[in-house]
Amino acid sequence: MEAILSRSATYLFLLFGFIALGGAASMVFARNAVHSVIGFLVAMLAVAACYLTLQAEFLGVAQILVYAGGIVVLFLFVVMLVELTKFKEKRLFQIQTPWAVATVLVAVAAFGGVFWKTLFGPAAVEPLTLRPELAEGLKVAEQNAQALSRGLYADFLLPFEILSVILLVALVGAVVLAKTERV
């Protein structure tokens, strides 16, 4: 039973992984910007499904809630209102080619390093937490939300708060930028 379950979970993970790759590819290669956003949505939902096959329920559902439900909607909003079919704006996106190549190279190096380490390096035996004694008696597979909140509010409270301050700064900045035009 357990073996069958874990094997089928692996197959499902592969299936959804390839769907995510397909969605990402269609996002990059689609001519129409709205089709790109739909590809992005597919990729996000497939990544959420990958999390679910790894028994990270909270992460998977949060992925749907935040990315598929929130961020991609904003993308769609912007893309629908800004027509990218005009020639001038297309040129605007084409002059960025050298920068894009450089970014892709850096990203490939970073992700390649991670993959190399995961595939051939020593496996991570220790869980990534500063105070493992807080996680005692917690079944991570069944109590995703509790485990994650331990991590956020006990182990990594300071980074978490710093992140929220950064978000607040971005929020205030957006309000200021939107307001200046009317004064």
């Binding site: 089928s8 709205v34 739909i38 559902v61 749907i64 598929a68 439900g69 909003f77 995703n144």
Partner: protein, 384 residues
């Protein structure tokens, strides 16, 4: 009890899914019919009465007899019911018109997205705690095995529900864009702004039961809300229920918040260019969403499968009372049906808001109110 094999649990899940789909396709047409009749009676008319099936049966006889006596026949309450079959046939057989400049692919998937996002939510809804019924022994493969009252009562069920409720906005937004026509685009944009705005107070109002019960799974949350909260928790639950219901109306685009299809401003809003079964999927999705919102309100605030709402069950009726003290799927369904009636009732009572009024209600009143309610609930949780 032997552990079911993978195949057996898959078959049981399939049975549950089929049951839920049957439930949806029973509840939705009946809601549409009830909407016609209830709205009719709210406006002092009879609603749809023309198609009544045979006039030779007992009901036909009683009807004619009451008309002859000069009374509106009581039995006319279900006259018009066979007309629903005609509606379904019309939608399936009607010509599927697509505007020439519409984006073919997006135009095609928008209704499907709407529909799927509405149906998938039912996966996390728990209709009854524990076992719903046990399959009889003569059933091949899965005989004698229990069928649970929820398809997947996962421990993050609430987030699943909220996540797919927010995915539902794509259907409307993409339909508005893909039609390549100005009224659908306006309707789609309005609706996206409205749904995204009202998601904030909706989520905040659902945090009250989460805070009071300390769980995110639908079944566990509704059990704790029904039988384990005290007297102090009744007030935030009632306020939360009203706030949630208001936001739920806005999320499902129902009157008084039916901006995306305000017919005297936008023709028919986002589905102006849709016809046939593609329109049918939007129509179905709207009613399924109403059922979902009602089921969530019933489960989180009205006690779910227990009889009394707002935690009064645990305070007033002990578990030893034979029928009323036990959870029952019928109580849950009765609450869902009542809330669907409230939807229709409100539609017949309250006129539509103006667009700017909707936005100011959402941001200036509902969000502060839900925050105050949340603080109240937190205080009760802390001190009691």
């Amino acid at each position: 009890m032997p552990q079911p094999t993978l195949l057996q649990s898959l078959v049981i899940a399939l049975i549950q899914v089929i049951l839920v789909v049957i439930l949806i396709f029973v509840i939705v047409p009946l809601t549409i019919f009830a909407e016609r009749k209830v709205l009719g009676h709210l406006q002092q008319r009879l609603g749809s009465t023309r198609i009544a099936g045979t006039l030779t049966g007992l009901s036909g006889f009683l009807n004619r007899w009451m008309w002859r006596m000069g009374k509106v026949p009581v039995l006319s309450y279900w006259r018009g019911l066979p007309g629903l079959a005609g509606d379904v046939l019309k939608m399936i057989l009607k010509e599927d018109v697509r505007p020439a400049k519409a984006d073919r692919f997006v135009f095609f998937i928008a209704p499907a997205l709407s529909f799927v996002a509405a149906v998938v939510v039912f996966g996390a809804i728990s209709f009854a705690p524990g076992t719903l019924f046990t399959l009889p022994a003569w059933v091949p493969l899965v005989g004698g095995l229990p069928v649970a009252g929820a398809i997947a009562d996962i421990n993050v069920g609430l987030l699943w529900i909220l996540g797919f409720a927010s995915v539902g906005v794509y259907g409307i937004l993409l339909a508005g864009w893909a039609s390549n026509s100005k009224y659908p685009l306006l309707g789609g944009l309005r609706s996206a702004a409205q749904i995204v705005s009202y998601e904030v107070p909706l989520t905040l109002s659902l945090l009250v039961p989460v805070l009071l019960s300390g769980s995110l799974s639908f079944g566990e949350l509704s059990r704790r809300m029904a039988v384990e909260t005290g007297y102090a928790a009744i007030l935030p639950q009632m306020v939360g229920f009203l706030l949630y219901l208001t936001c739920g109306f806005a999320e499902t685009n129902r009157t008084p918040f039916d901006m995306p299809e305000a017919e005297n401003e936008l023709v028919a809003g986002f589905h102006t260019e849709y016809s046939g079964m593609k329109f049918g999927f939007f129509y179905l999705a709207e009613y399924i969403n109403m059922a979902v919102v009602s089921a969530i309100a019933a489960g989180f605030f009205l006690g779910g499968p227990w009889l009394l709402p707002f935690g009064l069950q645990g305070l007033w009726i002990p578990e030893s009372v034979p029928f009323l003290g036990q959870p029952n799927v019928l109580f849950f369904l009765a609450k869902v049906v009542f809330l669907l009636f409230v939807y229709i009732w409100v539609r017949g009572t309250i006129p539509r808001y103006r667009y700017d009024q909707i936005m100011s209600v959402g941001w200036k009143y509902l969000i502060p109110l839900t925050l105050i309610n949340l603080a109240l609930a937190a205080g009760i949780r802390y001190f009691a």
